[in-house]
């Protein structure tokens, strides 16, 4: 029963930071305003960068620092600015529209997190890594991001869900393997940036065609 046997402080700090990521993921799910969603995503990215920097510091693997820096620049500054521009230009209603309402969404996300915990528990038991709880949290964030993409109608919230998934993947990579090779990480960052740009353009087209960024209207397209 007792687990509080003075565990190593570094690994606890990593766990604390990754938990903050999960908390912001929940805040995003419970958020109704688009711009607040984007702000929360930026906050989540900052926590991600702090986690990565901590792992870099504790393991002495220098290239994770570069990844942390890129996370700040791309995910906490550039992408939120792009998304804010989209929101401003679209002049969208501030309310997010839902396929699934907030209270059921929260319950589903809770179930997803439990699923993630349950699935990763056997791996975490092996426990040779510094960051064994982070793996479960990373999977939980990926699932929540995926759920966001399914359960929201507006294109902007779907982008936020996609980016949140990416944050979860990055956390998982940092937690499970102390980061990927630098070249892969650079590629992923570039991919995410381009994806955000392309989805942004696509959102503008959507707005021009339908006067709305509600993606469910796409089913009404005819030749």
């Amino acid at each position: 029963m007792m687990t509080a046997s003075h565990p190593d402080l570094g690994s606890q700090l990593v766990n604390l930071c990754s938990m903050l990521l999960l908390l912001t993921a929940f805040a995003i799910v419970a958020q109704r305003r688009l711009s607040a969603c984007v702000d929360l995503f930026a906050v989540q990215s900052i926590f991600l960068a702090v986690t990565a920097a901590l792992v870099a510091f504790l393991t002495g693997i220098a290239h994770i620092y570069i990844a942390a820096l890129l996370t700040i620049v791309i995910k906490a500054i550039i992408i939120p600015v792009i998304l804010k521009r989209i929101i401003e230009r679209l002049n969208v209603q501030r309310e997010v529209s839902f396929i699934i309402g907030i209270p059921p969404s929260l319950l589903i996300c809770g179930a997803l997190v439990i699923l993630a915990f349950w699935v990763t528990a056997p791996i975490s038991r092996l426990g040779f890594l510094l960051t064994k709880d982070s793996l479960a949290i990373a999977l939980a964030i990926v699932l929540i991001g995926f759920f966001m993409m399914i359960a929201r109608k507006k294109a902007v919230t779907q982008i936020v869900g996609f980016l949140m998934m990416e944050n979860g993947l990055f956390l998982g990579a940092t937690a499970a393997a102390y980061g990927m090779p630098l070249i892969v990480e650079l590629g992923v960052f570039f991919d995410v940036l381009v994806a955000a740009l392309i989805i942004g353009v696509y959102t503008h087209r959507l707005q021009d065609t339908f006067d709305s960024v509600d993606t469910t209207k796409l089913t009404g397209l005819r030749e």
Binding site: A4, S18, F26, A30, I102, I114, F117, A121, D133
Partner: protein, 320 residues
């Protein structure tokens, strides 16, 4: 024999401290809020003057009310005070720890809230009934989150007794002991605190606007010493929650042995932690707008899910 006397002294000291400090916390939050809004604000001691003024005045009791209306303020005051004696303030094992665990604390608070709701209904005014019905919604949603979040911390300590939890956590360095479940429980309990003490995203303590008020609507019929007791009890409740937050999750500095010098130090540490939390609440009140009543369930849903996840996390990763 000496232990019994010591226990009595510590209990009396804790009662006097919480009674005296609680109006100050209310004043502190108001002051910080006023400064954040670039107002001068009332003095820090204003709640004391209010209480003294109200205690001196006669209570006006409507002839339409039953005995419940006059009994309720005393019941609410006494149950809240009893609950705050079970929560460690400066000594990690309160002398009364044998008297009850976290379920007792919550049920004492529930008892007070229940009578407050009855009293709101008793006078038969429209506002009182409205306030009571709203309070019932919110209370039924916060209570599970509150119990679950304290249980989540209790699991690490291996007990449901608040004193034992605080003692164990103090010995093993607080939130750093096991961050993931503790952090979730902390977030949940903070939301519960905002809801239970009628703070901004849920209720606005500074207004009597009929569309939004909850706590104020229930106590609208009260005056004089009855009102003073109810206000004092809600200040006690606020202090109780802040103490719970600070000592469950950050029990740094709390005295684990009854030594005078250590206890004085612990009292100082407690004052600092409670003031910081009060400042945080004041910031929240200035940053966020009040939620629409039917949106409050979203916020409380987050609290419940987080508390539940903290428990599940513990069982999946730490249990067995």
């Amino acid at each position: 024999m000496g232990q019994v006397v010591d226990g009595l002294i510590f209990t009396a000291a804790q009662a006097i401290i919480v009674l005296l400090v609680s109006p100050f916390v209310v004043g502190l939050i108001r002051k910080i809020k006023a400064r954040l809004q670039l107002r001068q604000g009332a003095g820090l001691l204003q709640p004391y003057s209010d209480l003294v003024k109200l205690l001196r005045k006669d209570a006006v009791v409507s002839s339409a009310t039953s005995w419940l209306f006059t009994a309720a303020p005393y019941l609410i005051f006494v149950t809240t005070l009893a609950a705050s004696l079970l929560v460690p303030v400066f000594l990690s094992r309160v002398p009364l720890h044998f008297a009850g665990d976290v379920i007792t604390v919550v049920s004492l608070l529930t008892f007070g809230t229940f009578f407050l709701m009855l009293a709101g209904l008793d006078a038969g005014s429209a506002f009182g009934g409205m306030g009571s019905s709203r309070e019932a919604i919110i209370f039924s949603l916060t209570e599970p989150a509150m119990i679950l979040s304290i249980f989540a911390v209790g699991l690490t300590a291996g007990s449901t007794n608040v004193s034992t939890i605080v003692h164990q956590t103090a010995v093993t360095q607080g939130i750093i002991t096991d961050p993931p479940p503790h952090l979730m429980a902390l977030a949940a309990l903070f939301i519960v605190t905002l809801a239970e003490t009628g703070r901004v995203p849920v209720d606005n303590p500074a207004t009597h606007l009929e569309l939004t008020m909850i706590h104020e609507a229930m106590v609208l019929e009260y005056s004089g010493r009855h009102l003073a007791l109810i206000e004092w009890a809600s200040a006690l409740k606020l202090l109780l929650f802040l103490t719970l937050l600070s000592n469950l999750f950050f029990p740094w500095g709390i005295a684990t042995e009854p030594e005078p010098a250590w206890m004085l130090l612990a009292l100082g540490a407690w004052a600092v932690k409670v003031s910081l939390l009060a400042a945080l609440i004041a910031m929240f009140e200035s940053m966020f707008a009040k939620l629409r009543l039917f949106r409050v369930t979203d916020l409380l849903g987050v609290a419940f899910i987080l508390a539940l996840l903290a428990l599940v996390f513990f069982y999946v990763f730490r249990g067995a």
